[in-house]
């Protein structure tokens, strides 16, 4: 319940406040968005599996975003930022697909 309220509040905040993303943060926004999607799908799957754990949710989301951003930052410094962000997005997208497949199996038994 508190999670749903939090989600709604977050979306409302994001859309109505439209905070300007500072320029130096811009390369990390797509990564953060994909990581957020991954967290949402992972949580949805865990809820359906009956193993949801808010501790894991919080920690895994924060650490994923942090590590992904760190990788992209390092990549930027080494001149391969675009490639590394592609890699991060690919990995997170694969997780999203795996999770959504599990959710699909739960919901539609197919």
């Amino acid at each position: 319940m508190i999670a749903v309220i939090g989600l709604i509040v977050g979306i409302a905040l994001g859309i109505f406040l439209q905070p300007a993303v500072p320029l130096w943060l811009e390369p990390y926004l797509p990564i953060a968005v994909v990581a957020a999607l991954d967290a949402v799908f992972g949580a949805g799957r865990a809820i359906l599996d009956g193993v949801f754990d808010d501790h894991v949710f919080v920690i895994s989301f924060l650490s994923n975003v942090l590590i992904a951003s760190l990788l992209v930052f390092l990549g930027d410094q080494l001149g391969v930022g675009a490639q590394i962000s592609t890699g991060v997005v690919v990995v997170l997208a694969m997780r999203i697909f795996a999770n959504s497949a599990a959710i699909r199996r739960h919901l539609f038994k197919a």
Binding site: G10, A36, V51, A102
Partner: protein, 295 residues
């Protein structure tokens, strides 16, 4: 989709690892640990506000991501406009410098002529310099000639590079080469005088003459023998190729004979004088040599 599909080949290990369903492990592992400790009771760990805060953060990032993409678009247009404005400014600067060069060149040749007029050999040289510099593009030239106007086929998208109805750099090259072949003494494209080393190229959708863009319709003016230039051009391979293109793809080509044309001074692509020496004493034998060789 996920678990290993029974292929035990070592080379598949990487792919298997990639496809393994790691995404579920986070929660499963945590649950296993908790079950061990709590003997199956489902307990909450962190404070509720942390979960709520994370949810707000997740949803906020998603929403910002959505909104941000749309906000970026006008910015992209802005930066393109800014770049275009800078390019236009740089182009103006180039034009200014070119006109300075042209006027400096006129002053220089006036000075040179005055110097040459002081000696007998110089006076002999003056007339040959005049005729050579007219052909090389160093001075303006006037006379009868031919005007070929090339334009894209009607109703095509200029920016569609694949459209066959576009006039391409090759087409302009064809016309110019045909005119030279027919005996033209001087050629301009949209007012830009060509020299022996001029380049006609394409960059994206634009045609560049000596690295400066020219826009359709392309007006190619050539000065030459009034009696033979037009007919000689009409019988060249270039003219035939071009009329075939016009027939096939609708390029608009018009050719007309004009009694007086004035072609200006070339502003770029001029042969450089690599070994001009300052005349020593009264011995005036300027050694004008151009490395490219100007026909």
């Amino acid at each position: 989709m996920a678990t290993s599909s029974g292929d035990r080949a070592a080379s598949m290990a990487l792919l298997r690892d990639l496809l393994r369903d790691d995404a579920a492990l986070d929660y499963v592992e945590a649950t296993r640990v908790r079950r061990l400790r709590d003997q199956g009771s489902v307990g909450r760990h962190g404070p509720t506000w942390l979960l709520a805060a994370t949810c707000v953060l997740v949803a906020g990032i998603l929403a910002i991501g959505l909104v941000q993409r749309r906000a970026d678009e006008p910015q992209a247009t802005q930066s393109r406009d800014a770049l275009a404005a800078r390019a236009a400014l740089a182009q103006q600067n180039v034009d200014l410098l070119e006109s300075e060069v042209a006027s400096a060149r006129v002053a220089l040749s006036a000075l040179g002529q005055r110097l040459l007029a002081e000696s007998d050999i110089g006076q002999e040289l003056t007339s040959s310099i005049e005729s050579l510099s007219a052909i090389a593009g160093y001075s303006a030239i006037a006379g009868p000639g031919v005007v070929v106007v090339l334009d894209d086929a009607k109703g095509i998208d200029r920016n569609d590079l694949a459209s066959p109805g576009r006039v391409m750099d090759r087409d302009v090259q064809t016309v110019v080469n045909g005119l030279w072949q027919a005996g033209a003494e001087a050629v301009t494209i949209n007012g830009r005088r060509l020299t022996a080393t001029s380049a006609i190229r394409a960059a994206g959708a634009a045609i560049l003459v000596d690295f400066k863009p020219v826009l359709a319709p392309y007006r190619i003016e050539a000065i030459g023998d009034p009696n033979s230039l037009a007919s000689a051009y009409a019988s060249t391979r270039s003219a035939a190729d071009l009329s075939a293109l016009a027939e096939a793809y609708g390029l608009r080509v018009t050719t007309e004979t004009v009694s007086t044309l004035t072609l200006g001074v070339a502003t770029s692509g001029l042969p450089t004088i690599a070994e001009a020496q300052h005349p020593v004493g009264a011995n005036l034998t300027p050694s004008l040599r151009s490395p490219g060789g100007t026909s």
